[in-house]
Symmetry: D2
């Protein structure tokens, strides 16, 4: 067995494990749950399951597995997300109209592609392996999106049904946050090669960092309640102008999934509606809210370079398994950025405007998916993701 065999064999195992994980995540969902699209930014669970499969079919099987035929021709149209180079596609806001194929036909599609992928992986040319890995990383991204989107879908139902009553919430922090000194001066950030990284994480490059401090943990629900009690949602001068306009227009009074109930605030989670835990990290806040909170607290958001430089600091907790952490950095290409060659070159580059970088990872992020130089990104008004915040400040 050659080295390549070993690597391909390991990849086949990894392929099976990740693909299974998606199905496990979809298991608690009825066919109805999997079908609806609760807002244009979200996608149906069934669509996620099919789209990640389309990715393998389109970028791996068709070009690299001789004799492979699409499971169904029309799926090329239905399950292309945004790849212009891969041809025309179904309009994004209409994904919820696809009652057919059924959830179980999507299951058959997955099995068809998995069987073909198994054949491909048996004797995959070395140059395809990075694309397989990309397909798996891509599927992991959609695993988290499946959860964020189903949380939103279920939240639209007045019955507030739980996705999984056993879903566990992030670990709580104890005691006040401590501000840690961050590494400053000339630093390097970005992917140094080696393990997998998306194109947007490269190249590794130098940045200059003025002295700063960064909190050892995320802001908690309890701290957020203080912000609310102090008029955080009623004080225009704490907010960016656009954020304030949105907050007023939509009458924001608390994080996105919070409901006022007799006896206090509750939060709708994947486990259903539960009273707020003051020690748990606040989640489902958009960038506008996070930034207003930081101003209220006399602090600021860290830049993504500060975050990455500080990532391994002793004492720094809740880095990657709790909630994505808004940074003060707009999502733009790194100096020297080059998109990948071919159709997958559309993967990240064309979204590098109008969004803010998040760092870390969340409880919904599949284990092993995140890493210190990972760059997540969403528009500043996105509230439905598993988002929180960590404070920073200048070290004068």
């Amino acid at each position: 067995m050659t080295l390549l065999d070993t690597r391909a064999s390991a990849l086949a195992d990894r392929y099976a494990a990740i693909r299974d994980h998606t199905e496990m995540l979809a298991a608690p969902l009825s066919p109805e749950d999997q079908t609806i699209q609760s807002m244009p930014d979200a996608s149906p669970a069934k669509w996620h399951r099919a789209h990640v499969t389309w990715f393998f079919e389109t970028f791996l099987l068709l070009p690299h597995l001789p004799g492979y035929r699409r499971f169904r021709e029309e799926f090329a149209f239905l399950f292309n997300s945004y790849y212009e180079a891969a041809g025309p596609r179904h309009a994004r806001p209409k994904r919820g109209m696809l009652t057919r194929p059924s959830a179980s036909e999507v299951g058959a599609y997955r099995a068809h592609v998995d069987a073909a992928m198994a054949r491909l992986l048996e004797k995959a040319p070395a140059e395809t392996l990075p694309l397989v890995e990309l397909g798996l990383q891509h599927e992991q991204q959609h695993q988290e999106l499946l959860l964020t989107d189903i949380l939103h879908a279920l939240s639209q139902n007045p019955l507030l049904p739980a996705y999984d009553t056993g879903w566990r919430e992030p670990a709580a922090a104890s005691g006040p946050a401590r501000m840690l000194d961050g590494p400053d001066g000339i630093r390097e950030i970005g992917s140094a090669g080696g393990g997998f990284a998306f194109d947007n994480e490269a190249p590794r490059h130098k940045v200059w960092l003025d002295p700063y401090r960064i909190a050892d943990r995320l802001v908690t629900n309890g701290e957020w309640l203080d912000f609310m009690a102090d008029g955080g949602y009623r004080t225009a001068t704490l907010w960016m102008s656009e954020g304030w306009a949105r907050a007023q227009a939509e009458a924001w009074q608390a994080p996105f999934y919070w409901h006022r109930r007799e006896g206090g605030w509750s939060q709708f989670t994947l486990a259903g509606l539960h009273p707020i835990d003051p020690a748990a990290p606040v989640r489902h806040i958009c960038w506008y809210e996070a930034e207003a909170y930081a101003r209220w607290a006399g602090r600021r958001l860290p830049t993504e370079a500060e975050w990455e430089a500080a990532c391994g600091l002793p004492g720094l907790q809740q880095a990657a398994d709790t909630a994505w952490q808004w940074t003060g950095s707009a999502y733009r290409p790194y100096p020297g950025f080059r998109p990948w060659e071919g159709a997958v070159g559309e993967y990240n580059g064309k979204f590098m405007i109008g969004q803010m970088v998040l760092r870390g990872g969340s409880l919904a992020t599949p284990p092993g998916h995140a890493r210190p130089n990972y760059r997540n990104f969403f528009p500043p008004d996105a509230r439905w993701q598993f988002t929180g915040l960590r404070l920073a400040e200048d070290a004068a």
Copy 2:
């Protein structure tokens, strides 16, 4: 067995038959099909099944069956359509968010209510029988809506799946239309009592009709193709101003479900996509289109009084089993109109503005549901219903 027993017993049979018919109509639909709402004016099939059940529960069982308890309290909120007097309700455009209750739980809800209704009908007080009949007539209306709405939902899927490949289309007409002399002078229209009628069909009242003629059959697809070929959709002066604006904004070129395919026009129907039959009646046109066609043809739409007066004329075909027929009459109350007492008083009255009257009935109308004085109504831009037209003209 008393007369009342007989009547109640017959009603129980009728109840069972009509309720079964709804389930039969829903049978070809998957749970996914039953869940989505393809536009705010349409409702999910599952919602139709539950709402008509809620009607019996709310207006019959709760007030009249001692000890009856709601199947589930929350359904009072979820499945109230528009009855202000029956309490708050789920927002109409959000009906497609209800992945729960599932299609099968809705089936259980129906069974629960049916069992209770059976008990009620065994010894129903005489004064409840009209309400039972109203509930059944109401369910029949939703049977047609279920079909119109699922046709729309399936039309949004690029796969254009059929509801039922065996669905038969309306009978074709042969030969040119003949214009029949209508009854004129003082005439009476409206419900004379006797059989069931909705509140909007009463009271019977006198109208004055100037001499007119009315076509013996509906306009056909072939005739509509002539209109199209003659620039019907490109000639502003044929159209009402509002209709023209809509036609331009949405680039109308043909009836709603028509698709241009190589070799000519096809129509998406409950049986899937099929080439146009020139002899079949044109369907899925809105009032603006119907009225423009009539102007192009040098004719006009009949008023609802003309239609009703002419309904039984010898030679008049396709009265009630083909397509709803747009009239030139705005939907307004008859002179002396009184809404029903109680919550069902909201049934019709509050919609008597901004809509046009349709007469007849369609292939999707349940057998036995329509009658000559039946008043259907939709806004002038509604295209997704089973709508056609019959021409009329002044008899100079």
Copy 3:
């Protein structure tokens, strides 16, 4: 001097008087006031002044005055309102973008056309005289619209400036309303020929009227305050469904131009903001409000046929000089309706959908313009016109 000379000479005088009246109405307005368009349904005062002039230029001078040349070619595009047959035109919602031509250049345009019209009227062919009369009636319609539109425009200014502090409000009624017996049975309504009438007023035709009674005066502000105090704007069951949705969405609490001030309600009028006069007729209510009021009062709106039949009844006041009166009739063509020949055939016919008929006339209607068979029409949500209501009821 022949009969025709006399008639043409009288028409020339009438032409001058009506054209002067327009300029008199615009006189209190600054160039800025005349320019803005405060909503898509309203037009700038300057545009009204130019459009009525364009009407004479396009339909009289160009076809009938040899050698006439347009004042400025581009005006054909800028000041055509909705005549498809008269060529392309500026988009209606963009009328407020026309800072040029200036108000004074519009004055020069008017003078240019008036001079040419004087030449035409000196030896006008007999067949043109009806078109001249139509142009004058058209200008009178725009005289009222100029006032309704400027009232709206000024109302958008937080300074609430008056159009003319000397503007007098309609006469108040005293004592309770009396219900008069209306003429019933077979009646004739519509224009009998003779004087001028718009095409929509013809032909005269028979209608059947069931017995009814009609109020001798309009509903007053004081009566409207009772409706408000009794929860009129908070009681869904009084309202048409669409009207209720609008009232909720826009938080209606009173007629359109009413402002709550310390000490009670005031109304913004052409004379500025003034306390409500309880004895004055209520104005600036839309059809939805009028109809809800009538339901609350246990009455209904008269149909347009009832109104016209009752118009000359002894004791009936405030027929034509106070406020336009909403009827229960949708605006549809009379039986046998024929639009005029030529481009002016678009005058009325293409708007005969989606609107309700108003009868009477208002304080803003130019003297001599209204008549008993006059049919005014607006959509049921129009609140900025000088609209009120008169009650009716069935005479059981």
Copy 4:
């Protein structure tokens, strides 16, 4: 005469000159021109004239000139732009509804405030002088906005009237662009104190710059025509995803004010409609267009730090007097940014999201207003400003 006297005296002269310049810019505009608001992002010329006056009244005269009374109390509401701390204000999209005060009353307002400012400046406390300077810099910003906004307003008129037929267009460049080596490594950017700077230009701080090159001149119309001819507006892969969606939705085919005429393209300018000059810099492109062009050209936009570091390079032309130059940098605070104290603290900080930085200055920028560390900013879809682009590239 003390040093302070001298400075205050010079400031008084400067005050008069800048205030006069505003009136000179408004002079070609009729009262009508000055009144309309052609889109929510633009303001009427009259409003600009009044708002900059309100700034002096609110932040200088009321707190610092004893006995000063507002010209008119309501103006505090009408002409506050966005200062939450200065109280409630007129809604931005309604600025075009203010036909009153008239253009000439705004002139009187300006004279009133100027007279009071003259008194203040005679014996102004030293601590007020920076605020006076801020007021003047603020007025200069609005001088450019007045021109951008009136260009937009006039462009909405089908007559395409010129603001000033003598308006000169930017100087053309000759020959191909040369790429200059930019300064790299650790550099400092931002205001070093000394002259006036807005809060967003501070503090001066270090950045790391990888080696890069920057074009010596702006991209020309001729080069842009090549981009268009090569399908620049039809090639999705050149565009950011959001930009492509906008370009498709609005059918972009050329820069904002370009019109296709027989014989080629023309551009609407302050001097009216004129044929494109291929050697002149392209203007009125948004960031999406600029970035797509750069990708097509195999280059990229410079970052704002690169731009500033390169600003004084020998050979670099068209730095500040031609067109604002889009950079690749999102508008965010500099490290250590502190907003000003007091109400003027809202000046810049609350807009630091969702916008891209522009550097340089344009032909419409008042002389002496721009400087190398000046940070202008607009959303990436803004096309109505005097915007162009300068290319950059990595020096591998």
